[in-house]
């Protein structure tokens, strides 16, 4: 049932992409309404600034609109938009502050499922994630929240897969300290 719903959504999305690529803004509006929440969620978590995240969403969709004709409808539009959003967010963040290069130490294969030993309120967890250093937070958000593999997250962030794992290791350690509980 779930697979059928997903299949319908993809077909429906493919048709909208084709129309939008031909200049149909109504079709593009539907795509925007479908994806803007997830794009905003990603941008907000990466930038930690609501206004900056809004700008990122705008830029993401403008860039997507311009490049729609190069999008291959067989791939996921959501993933494609996320790639654009990550690039836009990183660029905005570079403009608004100094970049701290990731520290690759501590890499030892991050394979946990990111479960907490006791339940935590959404707000508390979001705050703990928001307090992480940029590099660790980026890797954590893409991998643990949005479900991208180490390799996908690393590619999106323009870093090595090993560095991404190291950042995840660091994120786990810092979350554990902040939440005062085990993060498995």
């Amino acid at each position: 049932m779930q697979a059928q719903v997903q299949e319908n959504r993809v077909e429906w999305e493919g048709a909208l992409v084709q129309r939008a690529a031909a200049g149909d803004t109504r079709a593009f509006e539907r795509l925007y309404r479908e994806h803007s929440g997830r794009v905003y969620g990603l941008c907000l978590r990466m930038t930690r600034d609501a206004q900056l995240a809004e700008d990122c969403v705008q830029d993401t969709f403008i860039n997507a609109w311009k490049a729609l004709s190069s999008f291959e409808t067989r791939s996921s539009l959501g993933t494609w938009l996320h790639r654009i959003a990550v690039n836009v967010s990183l660029a905005k963040r570079r403009k608004s502050g100094p970049v701290v290069e990731p520290d690759p130490e501590g890499e030892d294969g991050e394979t946990g499922s990111w479960t907490l030993e006791t339940p935590v309120e959404v707000k508390e967890l979001e705050e703990a994630i928001g307090a992480l250093p940029d590099g660790a937070r980026d890797a954590l958000v893409l991998h643990a929240l949005y479900g991208y593999s180490h390799e996908e997250a690393a590619q999106m962030l323009g870093i090595a897969a090993g560095t991404c794992k190291a950042q995840l290791h660091r994120a786990r350690k810092l979350l554990k300290e902040r939440l005062k509980l085990e993060v498995n």
């Binding site: 077909e11 084709q18 309404r33 969620g41 705008q58 609109w65 990111w114 935590v120």
Partner: protein
């Protein structure tokens, strides 16, 4: 956040991926889109003098899709409704039943005999234009044709599963209207002696 903030979660994967935007960005975005046209997938290098032939090619590409749909897929028989999948001449379309439920679409557009007649006439004259095209132009037409056919199939499939979806109906009608417009453009260009 999309979920109540006091809700408790046991895993990071349970956090909502989507976050509600504080305001609707669409009106602002829409204004910016008008100033930022969609870029062509494979821009053809050339001067302004080549713009008209390229536009002609784009129009011909749309029409070629129609030509293939009719000449190759359906022969010279009556033009079927846009929701009907392409089938060999004389063979009933296998998925016709659910797609034909789209009565609003039929009534609005395709069941009009004037439309069918005009389209058939234009398609008939189009075949000669396609035959007269030079190889590279024909290749471009065929490449565009594939993309157009894909779009039509996507829409038809989606409509088959959700026949009452008004936006899908509108999108499909728009696609067919685009074809008709292009078909007319090519026909008029042929009559006036303009070509590639």
């Amino acid at each position: 956040m999309a979920a109540p903030e006091d809700r408790k979660v046991r895993s990071l994967a349970e956090l909502p991926q989507a976050v509600d935007l504080p305001r609707d960005l669409w009106p602002q975005l829409q204004a910016q889109l008008k100033a930022a046209p969609v870029e062509a997938a494979a821009p053809v290098p050339g001067t302004r003098a080549r713009v008209a032939p390229l536009r002609w090619l784009a129009a011909a590409a749309t029409v070629a899709a129609l030509a293939v749909g009719v000449f190759i897929g359906r022969g010279l028989g009556p033009v079927s409704a846009p929701g009907t999948p392409v089938a060999q001449t004389g063979t009933p379309a296998p998925q016709a039943a659910p797609l034909r439920d789209n009565a609003a679409l039929d009534a609005a557009f395709v069941s009009d005999p004037r439309y069918e007649r005009q389209r058939a006439e234009l398609v008939q004259s189009l075949q000669a234009r396609l035959n007269a095209m030079p190889g590279p132009a024909r290749a471009k037409v065929m490449a565009s044709l594939t993309a157009i056919e894909t779009a039509k199939k996507d829409l038809e499939n989606a409509l088959g599963k959700d026949p009452s979806n008004a936006l899908l109906q509108e999108l499909l009608i728009n696609t067919y209207q685009d074809e008709m417009r292009a078909l007319t453009d090519v026909h008029e260009a042929g009559e006036s002696g303009k070509g590639i």
